[in-house]
Symmetry: C2
Subunit: 347 residues, 2 copies
């Protein structure tokens, strides 16, 4: 594999300290804005600005199909990957509505839907193949494909940087991709599929059992213990998951704060952090998904997500929903008066 | 007491059913938007509209002082009540920033700050007295004062209705008002002060112990077991808490959805629901406060709040922070395409 890991610098500690000192003077009991205070300070440090701004938000939804879908691990037929991508750009999907709502730029990146997406506004062709190979029978992708998928993510981050994005959100679409993400998480964390496999888009108990068995088969075939993250990604990944990993690393390298969506996105974030631990400083986890395994992934990356709304849709939707809370955190930090400015007595 | 409880009608069940049927057809796995789905449907029913809208949001912050402040139960001096009200209208407080951020109308209602607020834009004079009486020595207010405080809340709801508000938020400001709210909750729920008393704006352990003893003294003096909610409010309340209760009841009677803020607002909501159980259908609980007793209040009203950000500021700030999530819920419900419209295969 030839993809070069980008260099990631830490957020600005000096701006953080100055902003923290001012935050302690704002007209509120210390700490009374809870998580919003820490979020504002993290954005201060990432943007190296005492007045962080999240006006320009960029969303790349990476779409790809999964060979393992043929094992019957999803509640939806595989054609839905492509159908939903059309829905994304036509404006009828959840992420389309939310992107409008928050005024974000939205693009759909085809990294390997089985039948290519029709070219059109909002569609980026970065195809790596026509879906991955069924990883219960062999590696999901070749090393070359992995390189290209990671690069597709990096290119999305570069487009976001060109746009002047102050926040990067990666979404994903791919029927069967919770199966891939669960297998990856099991391999990366050494956790049994029984503890991580969940209903995804809506499997019943028998469906979840079957999905778990499919993952067990894949883990038995690939015996990933001792493999590095890229090798694991190659064997069990999806093109869109690899693209998310590449995008997170490249956004961090470009000093763009990243808002991580749910279960699948968090597995991509875990991969990014394993590859470059410094990436963690640039990742904010938006929400806790209803997919039961998400809790374990969030613990592994020591994340306290912003909201917990029992969402489990993907597409970047949980991240988009959380954007106004980050904006509120910034506005409070930027615009509140200090005790001295307002003539208010302190404690 | 002469205040007449307003009649409260239930939200529209028929519109709810129609909207629920359409929601099941939207292009997402059923239930995958989690709490946002239920919130949208509740707003559908309250607004009796299949396409609920939260453009016009009204915030009334009720401010008053508390006689019990002289018992040393707050981390801040009593002068802060008045000082913060000036900060609210000048734009430097958290609620001022958040109101701007969400485009809400904001008014500050003086229901009994010790020294009257200076008249000015954004200030409403609805004074009931110069702070309550110290309830460790006698009833906090007279029956006439309670009537007038409830009416002050009702008048705020009437102004909101005149504005065409699609959502009502009540905030509060009053040094020592977590002591009053805690005493009220103990009396209403029959819970020991030890389980409910918390740090409020930032008491240390010794401060919380003292606050608990002050509340125990008040409960011993007033022995509220067997008293009705209005009698309890009279003995242990605050003018701003009574005003919130009146506002919630009147907003519900005017078919305006209410977004309840944190600990103190939830105690006012508990009072409103005890007075008129039908009020509950009109209340959405915005957040779980870091004030430890809030959990018990939320359980008592069977509420699952929208966010849990460890905020503990009051002013209506937790509610204002949650508004964009309700707007996202409405936008998703209103604008997402159905499977048929988008040509997407269903499960």
């Amino acid at each position: 594999m030839n993809w070069t890991l980008p260099e990631i610098l830490p957020p600005c500690a000096e701006t953080f300290r100055r902003a923290q000192a001012r935050q302690a003077q704002l007209t509120k009991p210390p700490g009374s804005l809870g998580q919003l205070e820490g979020l504002a300070l993290r954005l201060v440090a990432m943007q190296a600005s005492e007045r962080p701004v999240l006006e320009r938000v960029w969303i790349s939804v990476f779409a790809a199909d999964h060979g393992v879908a043929e094992a019957g691990v999803s509640a939806f037929p595989q054609a839905v990957t492509r159908e939903m991508c059309r829905n994304f750009v036509r404006g009828g999907a959840a992420i389309s509505v939310l992107a409008r709502q928050i005024g974000a730029a939205l693009e759909v990146v085809d990294v390997g839907v089985i039948e290519p997406l029709e070219p059109g506004a909002g569609i980026v062709d970065a195809r790596v193949g026509s879906g991955t190979f069924n990883f219960t029978q062999g590696p999901a992708m070749s090393g070359t494909q992995l390189d290209r998928a990671l690069a597709a993510g990096a290119e999305a981050a570069a487009r976001a940087a060109g746009f002047g994005a102050q926040l990067f959100i990666g979404g994903e679409m791919g029927i069967a991709n919770t199966t891939s993400a669960t297998a990856l998480a099991c391999a990366l964390l050494g956790i049994e599929p029984e503890r991580l496999a969940g209903p995804g888009t809506g499997l019943d108990d028998a469906g979840v059992r079957h999905k778990r068995e499919v993952i067990e088969t894949a883990l038995w075939l690939h015996s990933p213990a001792g493999c590095g993250p890229l090798e694991i990604l190659c064997r069990l990944g999806g093109f869109e998951i690899a693209a998310l990993t590449g995008a997170y690393l490249s956004a961090a390298a470009a000093s763009i704060p990243v808002l991580v969506d749910g279960f699948i996105a968090s597995v991509a974030a875990l991969l990014a952090v394993r590859l470059q631990p410094g990436c963690a400083d640039w990742l904010i986890y938006a929400h806790r998904s209803a997919e039961p395994g998400h809790r374990l992934i969030l613990e592994a990356v020591r994340a306290e997500p912003v909201v917990d709304l029992a969402m489990r849709l993907g597409e970047g939707s949980g991240a988009a929903v959380a954007v106004p809370l980050l904006r509120a955190a910034c506005a409070l930090h930027n615009e509140m008066a200090t005790f001295a400015e307002a003539g208010v007595s302190s404690a």
